[in-house]
Amino acid sequence: MGPPDVGSPGPPALDPEAVGLPEAGVPDRKETEVRRMLAGPHPPVPPDLAARALARGRRFLAHRRLLRRVGCLLAVLALAALAWLAMSRPWLPPPAHTTPPAEGW
């Protein structure tokens, strides 16, 4: 379980040469131009963004854990019900408590 590489924030492929691969030439120039437009001013990052994301991520984890527990519980209950059914076969008629009438003698 290697911790993810947090030291390099940059995206992996930023090399402009590697991007417009298939058709070099005219589309490449257009792409460069638009890429420059896209690299304009950035919106301000709220200072509590990481804390908000962390709290939400913890809620996701807790939710997932709860779901897993409920699933386990249901599985155990289903197994117990199956075991009980196999043991006591409630669909068979109950054993007779009286002896059948003796006839013919």
Binding site: P4, P11, A18, V19, P22, E33, G40, P43, V45, L49
Partner: protein, 170 residues
Amino acid sequence: MRERRPARQRRQAREFESFVAGTAGRLLHAAALLTGEPPSRPAPAAEELLTYALARTYAAWDRLRGEDPYVRVREEMAARFARTARRHRGARGGLTGRLSPQERLVLVLRLHEGEAEEQTAAQLGLPTDRVHALCLRALAELRSRQSEPASAGGAGAGRREAGGSQPAVP
């Protein structure tokens, strides 16, 4: 295992926070390009999108196994944006405001994030041709917008496909 859990959680939270500190600016910019919000003021829809993607990435933090968390966040953002594209249909005044959600998605993944066409196509579940077409349309739209004067002075004057003489002012 039980005893070590809090320590592991603390370490993960620290790693996550330093990751966010390093990448939030760029990711939020990508998110704002997706939602079409202008960069001049806070972008609530982009923040929501990014917070969701970061939270999902944090929830999978110990299962990343060497995968770049940045790429994971980008994927989560793209997937959520594609699911909720109807919400982002209208123009919000940003640079990409007049593009359709799908065009914005392709534009951001291909040009802003520098993904290859095939990668974007696989990620969005679209044919490569379609990604190519969407990208071309987004490029044309953005460039025609750039060549227009900032205020609507001449009605159809700057509407022609830009040749190359325009100054590259964003």
